[in-house]
């Protein structure tokens, strides 16, 4: 009995009509209460959706969005792109001649805080004894999981191609890094209060001036090509068709992970290059899946509302049963 009383404070008015201690409470939750609850939730959900920033919503990409085509058969591993990248992004770098140091190839490297793109070399060589060199950086996905993941819209897919990062919005949850299917994001763990996510932004400060990204500009073999994604895809497929013996018949990034802005051509099948930065990915972005789950469940707040109505009804029904 004490147990019952102890809880009256919690539910006295609403839930337990007829129980001793709350004789004057009205029966069950009033209809008004329920309407109020529903209205509040609906307003919150719809209002929230209306107010929220529209970052990351797919289907808003420009048909003229830019991309980069990388021909791995041309890349010789000179690492000038790394130098140019560091130079263009204000990252520390030595003199350009230091790029000739091939010893860095002994260990696989990932893009990091001071180096947004890196070139790796395959352990295996082809029939002519030549290894594959591959420059890797943020792939600038068409439907980027990092953008979908970011709860404050710090990651943004620019309609013109690049995936950009705005530290002034970021709260540092690093969910973008969990979401990145290529694992290309880097975090400044060592900055005490203002750590940032570091990534390639496709040199948007240069492209805004009509220049090409720094890595594309410096590539001596023109293994990198900057242009409209549509054009580059066409060029890539034409190149494969022209040299079917040279290239494996696939443009990596055309569909991988829902498509990326960085496209790769290779002589070797990409399946053999997984550890070089070409993971096997489904043709749909993982963001598509979470977004369809998320928006499926919370479309117009329908599911929570139904659940709420169900709970309120249950409450009322069982309360009557108790009261009887």
């Amino acid at each position: 009995m004490k147990a019952l009383e102890a809880d009256q404070a919690l539910v006295s008015r609403a839930g337990t009509p007829g129980t001793p201690g709350s004789p004057e409470t009205p029966a069950g939750p009033s209809r008004r209460d329920f309407v109020r609850l529903t209205a509040t939730l609906a307003a919150l959900t719809i209002g929230g959706q209306a107010l929220a920033s529209d970052h990351g919503k797919p289907g808003k990409l420009s048909p003229d969005r830019m991309a980069v085509l990388v021909d791995l058969t041309r890349c010789v591993g000179c690492r000038r792109c790394e130098w140019a990248c560091a130079d263009a992004n204000g990252n520390p770098h030595g003199v350009i001649a230091e790029c000739d140091d091939q010893s860095v190839f002994t260990a696989r490297r990932n893009p990091g805080n001071g180096q947004f793109c890196v070139v790796n070399r395959s352990e295996t060589v082809d029939a002519a004894g030549t290894p594959v060199h591959a420059k890797i950086q943020c792939m600038h996905c068409e439907h980027p999981p990092c953008v979908s993941a970011c709860l404050v819209g710090a990651m943004r897919k620019d309609p013109t191609g690049p995936v950009t990062y705005d530290p002034s919005r970021c709260i540092g949850c690093r969910y973008c890094m969990v979401a990145c299917p290529f694992e290309r994001l880097s975090y400044e763990y060592d900055r005490r209060f203002t750590p940032r996510v570091r990534k390639c932004e496709m040199c948007r400060h240069l492209t805004a001036k009509g220049e090409v990204p720094a890595c594309v500009g410096i590539c001596p073999v023109e293994a990198l090509q900057y242009g409209r994604r549509e054009d580059l895809l066409r060029i890539a497929h034409e190149r494969i068709a022209r040299h079917p013996d040279t290239y494996t018949d696939r443009v990596y990034g055309e569909t991988e992970g829902g498509g990326t802005s960085w496209l790769y051509l290779s002589a070797r099948p990409f399946e053999t290059l997984a550890t070089l930065g070409f993971p096997a990915l489904p043709d749909r972005s993982p963001a598509e899946r979470t977004e369809s789950i998320q928006h499926g469940i919370f479309k117009w707040g329908a599911a929570p509302m139904v659940l709420g109505a169900l709970l309120a009804t249950l409450n009322k029904v069982t309360a009557k049963g108790d009261g009887a």
Binding site: C78, D100, V125, A128, E222
Partner: protein
């Protein structure tokens, strides 16, 4: 021939860079300029001194001039490739891309060399050992190596073993690398990780062996290396061992019986222009003077030389074979 060589020789002597625009789009025998200065590409690296003649030599193992110039019509790179890449969305490399793609496709494969300083040796360029002399000849290292003998086990049920003596073909038969390996890339033969070059029968072996019988190559057991006595059934007499095949057999690809002229080209010299068989102590009489050397000296064995019995029967036997036009005669002198 001398005239053809004279132009490059002259240029080499004067050391004048041959401007690419002046490069003659002449006949296929034209070797083009000796040295080019590649200085039309703007950028942080200086001009590159390109030894064209050296590369012409190397191209012979491949498709010739086409290796770099794409087509038989020889034009300077600049004719088609713009010094500054103008369009970002065409599949047409600019001059810088064209140079680097072309040069590095071999340099990288052959010497696994992709340091910029290898070609950008100009003292004014940003990198590279200062004032380093052009040392493209170093590219000959690492040398191509091959086993002397390769033994293949084929699916041929009767005679499964094919023995290929690389050393015989390269050293004894006098074939050049390009004769068989013309289609191979540099790196397939040279380089630390050199792979076994790909040679197909259709392209190579059959070029000489097309009319041979199977047993020429397919055996039950491994074949020994070339031995003139066994393989040609003609033991070389002392003094002949060091001769090249062509010295006796001429330029024939699959040698047959050497002509008497081939013998006389040496043996006549010993007797002042014409070979006098009498100088050997044996006087040829009658029709014998009309025979070719090998008609009598078949087999290369001293004891087999001029065996009268090969033509002349000792006694007439009924049903004895008649050989050609030769008369059935009794042994002279006996």
């Amino acid at each position: 021939m001398i005239a053809l060589l004279a132009v490059p020789m002259l240029l080499l002597a004067t050391g004048l860079p041959f401007p690419p625009t002046a490069g003659p789009a002449g006949g296929p025998t034209d070797l083009g300029p000796d040295v080019l200065m590649l200085d039309q590409v703007p950028g942080c690296y200086g001009a590159v001194r390109f030894d064209h003649r050296l590369h012409v030599g190397m191209s012979k193992i491949g498709d010739g001039c086409k290796v770099c110039h794409h087509t038989e019509a020889i034009q300077p790179c600049r004719t088609c490739h713009e010094p500054v890449t103008s369009s970002v969305t065409t599949d047409w490399p600019g001059l810088r891309g064209a140079y680097h793609q072309q040069c590095l496709s071999c340099h990288r494969e052959w010497a696994h060399e992709n340091a910029c300083g290898f070609c950008h040796t100009d003292p004014s360029s940003v990198i590279g050992p200062q004032g380093r002399a052009h040392s493209a000849f170093k590219l000959q290292e690492p040398r191509a190596t091959a086993q002397n003998t390769y033994v293949y086990r084929t699916a041929h049920p009767g005679m499964p073993i094919v023995t290929f003596h690389h050393a015989d073909h390269a050293e004894v038969f006098g074939l050049s690398c390009a004769d068989c390996h013309g289609g191979n890339s540099c790196g397939q033969c040279h380089g630390p990780a050199a792979q076994r070059p790909v040679v197909t029968r259709q392209d190579t072996c059959y070029r000489c062996h097309s009319s041979d019988r199977c047993i020429t190559c397919h055996r039950l057991t491994q074949r020994p290396r070339f031995n003139h006595a066994e393989c040609a059934n003609w033991r070389l007499r002392p003094g002949h061992d060091d001769l090249a095949c062509a010295d006796c057999h001429g330029a024939q690809r699959m040698p047959g019986r050497p002509s008497s002229e081939a013998c006389r080209s040496c043996h006549a010299a010993q007797s002042g222009g014409t070979f006098d068989h009498a100088s050997t102590g044996v006087v040829l009489f009658g029709d014998h003077a009309l025979f070719g050397c090998l008609d009598c000296h078949a087999g290369g064995d001293d004891r087999e030389i001029a065996r009268c019995t090969s033509c002349h029967e000792t006694r007439p036997v009924a049903g004895q074979r008649e050989v050609g036009h030769r008369a059935l005669i009794t042994t002279p002198g006996d």
